[in-house]
C-alpha cells in the first residue's frame, strides 16, 4: 500500500452496523483527510438518527448526505433512509429513489459502484457486519476499478453473511478486525 494515494472510503453494513461503526469511526482522529461515505440498511420510515448518534462519538464531522452536495475530505456522510446515495464524476453526491436493490434502499452496491466509477484507484471499499449479500457486487466494482478492498473478518462480525458474500466476490480482499481496519485507515494516509 506504500505510496498509494486515496481520496475516499466507502463503507457498507447492515445488521450489527451501529456497533461496528461505533468502534471504527471514533478511532479516526480530527484532521483525518479522507471523505467517508456510508450506507447502512435502516427501516425506510425511520427518521435517521445515525448522523446524530455518530456525531456525538466522533472527532470528525458527521452528517446525512444531501442531494448535489460536494464531497468534502475529512467528513463522514450517511445515506438518508429510503434513498440511494450515488457519487457523481465531479465528486458530488446525488440521491435517488429508484427501486430497491436486493430489497435495500439505500443500496451498498449502488454507492460502491458509482464511487468506484468516480474515484477509480483512489477509493477504499469496506464491508462490515450484515445479514444479506448487498455490497458484494459493489466491492467487486471497487476492486475492478483499482481500489483497495477490506472486509470485516466474518467470524468476528455480528452477522457474517455480508462479509462472507463480499469475500466470495473478492477472495483477495483483506479480512481484518474492526480495530485493525481503524489502524489500516490511518496507515494508508501516512504511507
Amino acid at each position: 500500500m506504500t505510496g498509494r494515494h486515496f481520496e475516499a472510503v466507502v463503507i457498507g453494513a447492515s445488521a450489527g452496523a451501529v456497533e461496528a461503526l461505533s468502534v471504527l469511526l471514533p478511532a479516526l482522529p480530527r484532521g483525518y483527510p479522507l471523505a467517508i461515505l456510508i450506507v447502512i440498511h435502516l427501516p425506510p420510515d425511520k427518521k435517521s438518527v445515525m448522523a446524530e448518534i455518530m456525531s456525538a462519538k466522533c472527532a470528525l464531522p458527521v452528517k446525512e448526505a444531501e442531494d448535489k452536495e460536494s464531497i468534502a475530505g475529512g467528513t463522514i456522510y450517511f445515506a438518508p433512509p429510503d434513498y440511494h446515495l450515488l457519487v457523481e464524476a465531479d465528486k458530488s453526491l446525488s440521491l435517488s429513489s429508484e427501486e430497491p436493490v436486493l430489497f435495500s434502499r439505500p443500496s451498498i452496491d449502488i454507492l460502491f459502484e458509482t464511487a468506484a466509477d468516480a474515484y477509480g484507484a483512489e477509493l477504499i471499499g469496506i464491508i462490515l457486519s450484515g445479514a444479506n449479500e448487498d455490497g458484494a457486487r459493489g466491492l467487486k466494482a471497487v476492486l475492478d476499478a483499482g481500489g483497495a478492498v477490506v472486509v470485516q473478518q466474518p467470524e468476528l462480525a455480528y452477522a457474517s453473511a455480508m462479509p462472507l458474500a463480499a469475500l466470495e466476490a473478492c477472495p483477495d480482499a483483506i479480512a481484518l478486525s474492526l480495530e485493525q481496519i481503524a489502524s489500516y485507515l490511518q496507515k494508508v494516509v501516512h504511507a
Binding site: 442531494d67 448535489k68 429513489s97 429508484e98 468506484a116 466509477d117
Partner: protein
Amino acid sequence: MPNKTDDIELKLMLEALYQKYHYDFRGYSLASVKRRMGQAREHFGCKSYSQLQDRILHDASLLPKLLSYLTVQVSELFRDPHYFKIIREKLVPHLRTYPSLKVWIAGCSTGEELYSFVILFREEGLEDRTLFYATDINPEALNKAEAGVYEVDRIQLFTENHRRSGGKSSLSDYYTAAYGAASFDKSLRKRVVFSDHSLVSDAVFTEAHLISCRNVLIYFDRELQDRALGLFKDSLIRKGFLGLGAKESIRFSNQADYFIDFSREERLYQKRGDA
C-alpha cells in the same frame, strides 16, 4: 481506472436521443442515468452504448422500452404520509378560500401521487372545484397513470399510508380488486387532465395554486433543477404552493428568493406575494 470510453459513449448517446427524439437527459445526474442506461444496454444485449445508440437511432420502436429504463417509476399512494397530513391540516384551509383551484402533479409517473391528491381533495370537499394536471415525459407511464391499476399486493402499504396521512374515508371505497389487480375508480379521473410535458424543455402552461413535484428534481443536475424551479415559480399564482420531495430543497437554488418556507420539514414552499 474507471472506463472513460463508457462516459464518452454515454454522453454521445444522450445527445443522439435528444437530437433524434427530443428526449433530453443531458442535464440529468449522470451517475443514476449511467446505471439505468447500463441496465437498458444489458436488456437490449448491446456490448457498448455506441451499439445501443445505433439500434435506438435506427429503430424508433425501441424507444418506449428505453424510456422505461431511463425514467424512474417507483412510488406509493400517500408516500411520506406526513406530507399529506400537513397538506390536509395546514394547506387545505388556504386552498378553501379560492372558488376554483388548479393543481399540477409534475412528473406524475404512474399516477400514485395524483390519486393521493384526488382522494385527499375529495375527502376535504375540494375536488369539484379543482382541475388536476398530471404530466410526465414518459407516455407509457402516463398511460398507466390514466388506467389507475396497481398490483393488489401494494394495497396494504397504500392503505396504511392513507390512514397515517389522516385519511377520512376507507381507501377501499376508491378501488375494486380482481385478478391480483386493484383498479381505481374512474370518477377519480373526471377532474384530471393527463399530458405529456417536460420540465427540461417545455414552458408554462397554466397558473396553478399548488404544484407537487416529489423525487423528480433529484435526478437533475443543479442547472436543470434551477430551470424546473423557475418554471414552477412562473406557473404558480401569487402565494401559490410548491411541494418537493423529502430530500429536495429550494434552499441552494437561484429561485430560493422567490419562495418562503411554508412547512420546512415537509418541504412545502409558498411563492412570495411580490415574486
